[in-house]
Every structure is written in C-alpha cells, then in structure tokens.
C-alpha cells in the first residue's frame, strides 16, 4: 500500500508544547479583544470604590474592611470573566478540535487557564495596590493583600475553570456558574482576607499565605485532569 509514504506519523505534541500553544493563542485572542479584558478590571475598581461612597468615610473603618472588600471584588471580577474562558471556543467548535487533537487535552486546557489567569487575575494583583490606597491601608497591608491575591487567585481560577466547563452547554450557564463557584470560593475568601487582618493584629500572615499557596499548588496538580474530564463530559 502506497499510503505509508504520504502519511508520516507525526509525533503527538508534548504536554509543554501543547500548553504553550494554547496559552499563546489565548493571549493573542485577548489582545484582539482588549475591551472585554479591561471591562473586568474596571469592574474590580468600581466595585471597590462603591463601598467608601456607601459607608461612613471613616479612616479606621475603611482600613478594617479593606481586605474583605478587595477580596470580594476580586472574586466577583473573576466570576464575571469566567464564562469567557470556554464559551466562545465551545460555540465556534474550537473546543471540539482541541478534544480531537493529537495533543494531551489537559495540557491544552491548562494553557487556556494560564492565559486566563495572566489576563484577568494578574492585573487584579497589581490593581489591588490601588484599592489598598483607596482604603488607606499602610504599605505592609497593601503588600500582604497583593501577596494573598497572587497566591489565592490560581486556586480561584482552577475552581472557576472546572465549574465553567461543567456548566458548558447548559441554559443560563453563567448564573449557574455563580451558584457553583461562590460556595467553593468561601475558604479562599476567608484565608485571603484573613491574611491582612491577622498581619494587622500582629499575628503575622504566614499561616494564611501558606495555606493559600498550598491550595493553589494542589489545584494546579489536580486541576488539569479534572478540567479535561469536565470538558469531555460536556461534549458527550
């Protein structure tokens, strides 16, 4: 049979190449739709700014509630951006092609999650410094707030990504997403906001930050396979 010459068995892509491909692709697409990405960040800043307007503008009170508000706004902003992670790829068939590609699906999806974290959560970490200033936090408080977001948002993104994949193709998926993600995010919220408070109380933030980091590491290990499973289920 003359077939073998025309079809050289191309080696399946390595996990790293697949991750890189998916991440670069999504970063490029994010660059094309900068408005959508910026929307999430503007939302974060706006939600944070609402509280001082609605409450008594008292410096000590604001300082006390600052970490909680920053974390809740970060959570809501992440939630707002989550449907974007898979819905477009689901609608135009890209996700189907990823499922059928000669490359590890979990690596492709991890690349997407990484790109999503880089375009939404990483800017939030930087912007949290701004909202820290708004609430009259001191330098140390701002640094710990940013660190807690940096360590906690990967866990949040993985939780959200798996939920978003499970909600694919369901009607009212984005509302369902809120119901799915918010309860799961409660521990992250508690340790995230708690880190700044505990530092302010002189107890040190190490315990809280270590727990957030441990959660994020665990999520990055379990997340890829779980996410691949969720996407497969959504396509059956």
């Amino acid at each position: 049979m003359a077939a073998s010459s025309r079809y050289p068995a191309s080696p399946p892509a390595t996990a790293l190449a697949a991750l890189r491909w998916a991440c670069l692709r999504d970063l490029r697409l994010a660059l094309r739709s900068r408005g959508e990405v910026a929307l999430v960040l503007v939302f974060f800043v706006l939600v944070g700014s609402m509280f001082p307007l609605a409450m008594a503008p008292e410096a000590s009170l604001l300082r006390a509630i600052a970490p909680g508000i920053a974390w809740v706004s970060a959570l809501l902003a992440t939630l707002l951006s989550l449907p974007r992670l898979f819905s477009a790829d689901h609608a135009d068939g890209t996700l189907e092609q990823m499922l059928l590609a000669p490359a590890p699906l979990s690596a492709l999806l991890s690349g997407k999650v990484l790109a999503h974290w880089l375009t939404t959560s990483a800017p939030l970490v930087l912007l949290s410094a701004l909202s820290g200033l708004q609430f009259n936090l001191d330098g140390e408080g701002i640094a710990i707030l940013a660190a807690s977001l940096l360590l906690g948002t990967p866990l949040l993104t993985w939780l959200g990504a798996v939920s978003a994949a499970l909600a694919l193709g369901t009607r009212g998926g984005s509302t369902l997403l809120g119901l799915l993600v918010l309860p799961l995010a409660v521990p992250v919220l508690i340790f995230g906001a708690g880190s700044v408070e505990s530092a302010a109380a002189g107890l040190g933030a190490e315990a809280h930050l270590s727990l957030l980091a441990a959660g994020s590491i665990l999520a990055s290990m379990v997340g890829p396979a779980t996410l691949a499973l969720a996407v497969r289920i959504a396509h059956e």
């Binding site: 399946p12 490029r28 739709s33």
Partner: protein, 237 residues
Amino acid sequence: MTEAVARPDPQWAFESAEASGLAVDGLACSAGYRLLFKSLSFQLPPGQWLRLTGPNGSGKSTLMRAIAGLGRPAEGRVMWDGVARQSGSTEWHSVMLYQGHAAGWKDALSTRDNLVLQRALDSGMPAEHARSEVDALLERCGLLSRANLSFQRLSAGQRHRLSLARLAGAQRKLWLLDEPTTALDSHGQALFGRLLSEHLTQGGSAVIATHQPIDCDRPPIELDLGARAGTMPAAAG
C-alpha cells in the same frame, strides 16, 4: 488497492477483524430517548469513501461524532486496522480528522493566522516554520488574496474553503466530514472533488455526510440512514 466497488447495502456480514481501515460493528446511537439507528455495521477499506445520506435528524452527525469519539454510542464498537479504536487517544487523533458544522475558526484572527494555528495543533505544534506551507495551501484553495483579512469578513463559501485548506494540509488517513460542500461555489466543489480523489488515491478513506453530488473519480459506498430507520433486521453482524 483493488478497484472501488459501490455496494448496494453496507450491511454485510462483519468480516474478519484483520481488515485494515475503518470498521463499524453493531453500532447503535440514540438522541435522548429516541433510537436513531442500531446494528449498524460497515467496513471502509483504504482508498474508498462512504457517502452518508438520510433525512434531517436521521443521525448522520451523531454517527460521525460517535465514530470520531465525541459522543458515546449506546452499543457497538468502532475499529481501526482491526483493533477497537481508543476514543480520546492521541494515536486515534493522529489517524482521523473530524470536521463538523462549527469548524473552530476564530473571527478575530486573520485567515492566515487561523490556518497557522490550526495546522500547528493538527501536526504536533511548532507554529513558526509552517508559514510558507500555509501560503501554498491558501493559494491552492483560492484564499491567498484574503490571507490578511480577518476571518469574520470572509463569505460563507470562503470560510468553507479555509476548512478545505486545512484538510489539504492535514495528513490524516481518515476524514470524517459533515456537509463539507455546503455554500461552496462550483469551483469550490470541484476543488473538494480533487482533494478527495487525491486523498483516496494515496490510500486514505473518508466518511462524508452530504446531500450534494461530489465529483470524485471513485464511486462511493452508499449508506442511507433514512432507509434503515425503523426497518432494522432483528439481528445483524
């Protein structure tokens, strides 16, 4: 390869498991609670193509997806080269190319970038060194002058031509194509016929769901899902 023979009914006894190419053995698929077809068996040796017809809703797309491994059939199995294919495995994915109604192109990217990305995904990554090859594919499909245009500005026919360009470049033995020629003009249809003939000559095979005549120099094996619905023989295979 022996000459292609059009068989009146693909429902023949399931032969030995040693056969090369695609074989479907006793497949049954349902949509919700409705059984679309059952005991569907056929063999598709290299160098032949199967034309899948049937009224809307008779399960053409479901069958395609079941073969590709996107949907799980209610019963039966899909074999490749005599072995049950592992759905979801990279080995199977480098044998088969599935193109459904949504082809996975991005509106925001240019025609060329779309194809570069897809080809990288199809053929084990590195995206950079594929440029010249991609331009040759675009030229063959009459899209080179549109290479820098964003995909959303292409006409429906041109969009399908981009899928043809992907098909021409991807070196897969089995094509699973769902309505590949809708919206194509007569030149596009002729181009698809040539691509298919080439693919078959080189030992490839294809399952194509279509209602339009396809100008291929080999006659297809016909499979009409509509004619089979509800009139299943009690036991087959």
